[in-house]
Symmetry: C2
Subunit: 274 residues, 2 copies
């Protein structure tokens, strides 16, 4: 079935290198990341140029779609690493690993390469810390048709395993940009793009706002929200109405509410009502 | 400052018992749960009858509000356990523990004690698995003024530390019910309460639906959504429109979208539009 010897040793240098991809610094230096699970790898097969190698444990992989995916990728010239069940379990973060994983190339779009037009809308996230939130936001961006996500200043890594898992494959389909705040601000001023931010103090609620395009929706960090300088740079600020004891929502939920409101407006399902 | 000796030993039976609250079975048998962090404990002080004991490390707690909270609760007759920094760090799941935690009583409302009226609306969650999602949903429920949450069949524990943290205190303010599906169904039939479920296959979208009260919004599990029998028991099913490659949203995001839509309708901020 394979022209490569099966890897059975944890000390194999390729296996050791893949295991180290749990570490953000190693991911950043190498420009690749690890995904595991049948569903993720099968979806990844749609983007063969993003695949550095596939890791596959014949003793664990029973799914016929999974096996067919491995063979298709092998025919397409993708490197296939066959490993023993024991080596695969060592790489895996899952309790019941399915025997299929991959190492994929990261893709970062430079901010100046963003192609803005009258249909464009993007999400910018300022210093967000939780990779679960980031993955969930990428998943929502895919669902509403956002063009991509701009990560400002010190954000968590979209290629963190928790983010990758939470994104359900959207980490591959969303365009991802990383920029310092001052670079982003210079870019925003050069382009004629509307910037709309969120704060619990904003007078207008998100359902009362109009959303011109091209648009960037700006969300603050989980702990601090958007700082004063960020708010001042925005063309408009919106709040999400809340009753009860808490003064904020989970960041991924808040982002979801705003993106769905904007998308409904663009799709003509809702009108702007003051 | 205290009439109790400071606990400096990890082998202290109270400390050992508190540490075991990480285990769901121990939480269920004891009917209590552990919260930590300044913000959480200070909020908890509003519900003194829910507090079994406060754990406090004088060497770590520097916040004057935190110290005042401890003294107020001591005056109110709440048991205060003074512990060394080392013992506190051992109990804590945090990197930089702030020296304040509490053991709180769980509260479960029997389903027959739900007080339904023409303003009531509840959320029911069927077999959801992720405590982070559950905590986030409780937080959203607080924000929109839902009366409480009904956990159906085998759900994750709302008193899991991840759920408690994600709920930002809402685990104390939301009414929480646990029921088997058949018990819930019998209750729903006895009461005249509308049951509206969600599925990506539903023809009507969530913005097209009317939401009579009393209402229960029913959400399915992260992996499976709502099974056929659950869908058949619903008075209406709604979907959330999606484009892109994924066929579902994160459960907490999907729940947030529906709850905010319903709440906007109840608050008269939106009208029902076909």
């Amino acid at each position: 079935m394979s022209d490569l010897a099966r890897i059975t040793s944890h000390a194999n240098p390729r296996i050791k290198a893949i295991k180290k991809l749990r570490d953000r610094k190693v991911r950043e230096a190498s420009g690749v990341f690890f995904v595991e699970g049948l569903r993720h790898v099968i979806e990844t097969a749609n983007y063969p140029s993003r695949i550095q190698s596939v890791i596959f444990a014949p003793e664990l992989l029973s799914s016929s779609t999974g096996l067919a995916t491995v063979e298709n990728l092998r025919s397409a010239g993708v490197e296939i690493l066959e490993v023993s069940a024991e080596v695969f379990r060592d790489l895996s973060a899952k309790d019941g690993p399915t025997g299929l994983a991959a190492v994929l190339y990261q893709a970062w779009l430079p901010i100046d390469s963003i192609d803005l037009n009258q249909q464009s809308w993007w999400v910018a996230l300022d210093s967000i810390a939780d990779p679960g939130n980031l993955g969930t936001i990428l998943r929502t961006c895919d669902a509403v048709g956002v063009n991509g996500v701009i990560l400002l200043d010190h954000c968590t890594d979209p290629y963190d395993p928790t983010s990758v898992r939470g994104s359900m494959g959207s980490v591959l389909t969303q365009q991802i940009v990383k920029a310092e705040w001052h670079t982003f601000l210079a870019w925003k001023r050069k382009q004629s793009v509307a910037l709309i931010g969120t704060s619990d103090k904003a007078k207008s609620t998100y359902t009362q706002q109009s959303y011109p395009r091209p648009l960037v929706v700006l969300m603050g960090s989980e702990r601090e929200g958007l700082g004063q300088d960020r708010q001042l740079a925005c063309d408009a600020m919106v709040s999400i109405p809340m009753q009860g004891q808490n003064d904020s929502l989970n960041l991924a939920v808040a982002t979801g509410l705003i993106l769905y409101e904007v998308q409904a407006r663009y799709a003509g399902r809702k009108e702007w009502r003051r």
